[in-house]
Amino acid sequence: MANYFLDTPVYKHHLHHPLMKRIVEVKERNYADRNVYDYAPIDFEDAMDSYEKVLEIVGEICADSIAPNAPEVDLQGPSLANGRVSYALGTQGNMETVRKAGLMGMAMPRRYGGLNFPCVPYIMAADMVSRADAGFENLWGLQDCAETLYEFGSEDQRQRYIPRVCSGETMSMDLTEPDAGSDLQSVMLRATYSREDNCWYLNGVKRFITNGDADIHLVLARSEEATKDGRGLSLFIYDKRNGGVNVRRIENKLGIKGSPTCELVYKNARAELCGERRLGLIKYVMALMNSARLGIMAQAVGLSEAACWEAYAYARERKQFGKAIMGFPAVYEMLALMRAKADASRAMLYETARFVDLYKVLEDVSKERKLLPEERQEMKKYGKLADAFTPMGKAMTTEYANQNAYDAIQIHGGSGFMKDYTCERLYRDARITNIYEGTTQLQVVAAIRHVTTGTYLSQIRDYEALHYNPEMENLKQKLMEMTTRYESIVTIVTEPKDSEYLDFHARRMVEAAAHCILGYLLLQDANADPYFRRSAEVYVRYAQAEVDGIYSCITRSDRKDLGYFKVE
């Protein structure tokens, strides 16, 4: 019996971060559920032990079921008949296994049938699922929609829908339309209220909807006639049991082929409003997107990890010129860098997940009672950090997943180009991660204000102030040099107060900040566990060269240069 959770000790390392104590104690409201539910933890140690035991189940399912099913699922894909989607056989099997293991609704409160897990262990499960099959991670990750229902739905809606998700019904978030992709303000799907029937009816078309034939849909639609912008949009719940939505086509995609991406036609589909009118996009979808982005980060990290394993296994076995190819500097450098990027990505993923956890859990508590002043402070701090780290993390981890998948094929040589090896699937699957839930370019748009307002710099300073083992002093020196360079390019770019010039260099600045942050996170990992030392050494060297390049590019650039790049 193979087991991802047990065969890769880094998961446990990230699970046992010191901040978990605070997260779990707030999440469990001082363990009040222990007298109500027979599966609730008694204390902190008990909760951590439960997370480990449940993640062990996930690790086993990933290695024994989901990963072995992946090649067949990739080949077969879902099919469409009479407006309904059937998953590939392997996907059906995976869903059944996950349901029987009681893993759906992992992060939902126990009173709705969930496991009440914090974000960190939930995201860790997603990380492993994606390593087994990134396409299946989409179906797994759509559990997130239940969180939106929990946060913004009425108590009646929570009680009617969340237990269904916890018992294994699937969800989808229906946002994109043919003319509303990155720009969701132009969503046209019409929602009309019928006083007679006391409900809303949806009419129109949605496109690129992941798991579009789900049991329960969250739908962004225009409820305010004659409006054109985001303030005319509301969020609706559509229950498949009511009928009215058909799947017109399943897209034929490059990757994540097991996950059905659908075009949906709404014909008088009965729906109910979720939350308040007009807040659909500006409040609810923004929240939904943030947790979805964290899910995509987990998907990217899982793919990066899988790419490392595939490349390493091949490089160790494959012999050329009388020795295993991993013995050649050109190959072992690639392997080391892949490992460093995967470890750095994972460090970023869990740091972000912890910020999201603390922020969300305190916000949830604030609905039950007034927060103490220091708790309010805490919530504000972590809310801001979650807001800053989510787009940066999504941008970096998904780009690294693509780079790792690319290098995995490179290490396989000609064989990697053939369908016989897993690396080609990873390459195809990784390609969407830096596109959906906001392209890397859009993550930069979200992240750049934290460059200009100094959120990243102050967090880097906090990391700098931590204690590091003396043998890592030289790495810390490098990171301090990188930080100095980051500071000066921010000054150079922001000084002219030219927004186009800022946009032009935005990605470079976000990346420079990210290199410092990822470097410090790996240093902290190496502090706690010597396993990470190599990745820290490799990553910081790589990152410093990158920051030097960015510094060189920006210090030599001029606002006039933009003209050479502009396309008329």
Partner: protein, 290 residues
């Protein structure tokens, strides 16, 4: 009437991944280097039981295992997957049992459980490979037995319909309850552990294990009855100790030989049509392929 199912399960050394230290110099199994696992075909049997529980409201699944204290793990593994309770049959008197002594002890424990409609167990255990315990239990209890089961088609009106996997095909048979059914490894694999059950039962311990339990959790054993795993000694199941363990075992291992696999008659062939033709002819002549 709600269905009462007993599943017999054994903890075995994992002989599927045997390394060079698997046997001791004296020829006995070196259990300390082999991980102890749930006998694979007993898991297939458990799955059949759990499927009946899924489809028959009110059905209960009880695990029965014989072994040393650490075999309590088998009961927990069963509870994690959906079994309702379990008994650990443990006593020094049971040590060294062959299949006859084992089936005697199990049959006595089943008599003590008293009410049951169906007894399920794996076809055989991977440590002994005898496939005798299931049939012997049936004999001792005077019950009908269905061996090599691959699927239980239905259970209704006091009758059970079972599909058997045999050497030359499959056979569907019907029997009157109660009955003993031994399940093949070709039956569906067991479901995964369930996240809620794992969290509910992870503190479940036998009295002996409770002595080593963490002080913070001791109060749970009083508060939550289901966390106390029952263990039975030979006396508690009214077993005659002379018929148990080594003294009740007519089978004596006379001698054990280490078999070392090595290539004796290997041939190297070129991947050409000519050589493949020759090989095919040879294989047909010596009846390796028909």
């Amino acid at each position: 009437m709600s269905l009462k199912i007993i599943v017999l399960a054994k903890q075995v050394p994992d002989t599927r991944n045997v390394g060079k230290d698997a046997m001791k110099a004296d020829g006995t199994v070196n259990r300390s280097v082999l991980p102890a696992i749930f006998n694979p075909e007993d898991l297939n049997a458990l799955e059949q039981a759990l499927r009946l529980k899924d489809t028959h409201p009110g059905a209960t699944v009880t695990l029965l295992t014989m072994g040393p204290q650490r075999a309590a793990e088998i009961i927990r593994e069963g509870l994690y997957r959906g079994a309702d309770k379990g008994y650990l049959l443990t006593d020094r008197a049971f040590a060294g049992a062959d299949t006859l002594a084992t089936s005697y002890a199990l049959a006595m424990a089943i008599r003590k459980i008293k009410t049951y409609d169906l007894i399920l167990c794996g076809r055989q255990a991977i440590d002994g490979d005898t496939a005798q315990v299931g049939p012997q239990v049936a004999e001792k209890l005077g019950l009908a037995q269905i061996t090599y089961a691959e699927a239980i088609r239905k259970v209704e009106n006091g009758k059970i319909t079972v599909v058997r996997r045999l050497e030359r095909g499959i056979e569907t048979v019907e029997a009157t309850l109660p009955v003993v059914v031994t399940v093949n490894g070709t039956a569906p694999a067991c479901r995964p552990r369930n996240a809620r059950y794992v969290q509910k039962y992870k503190h479940a311990k036998t009295i002996a294990e409770q002595q080593n339990a963490h002080a913070d959790y001791l109060h749970l054993f009083n508060a939550r009855a289901y966390l106390n795993l029952e263990e039975w000694s030979a006396a508690e199941v009214n077993a005659d100790v002379r018929l148990c363990g080594l003294s009740g075992s007519p089978t004596k291992v006379k001698k054990i030989e280490n078999v070392v696999f090595q290539t004796k008659e290997s041939k190297t062939m070129e991947p050409t049509d000519e050589h493949i033709n020759e090989l095919m002819k040879e294989l047909i002549t010596n009846h390796t392929i028909a």
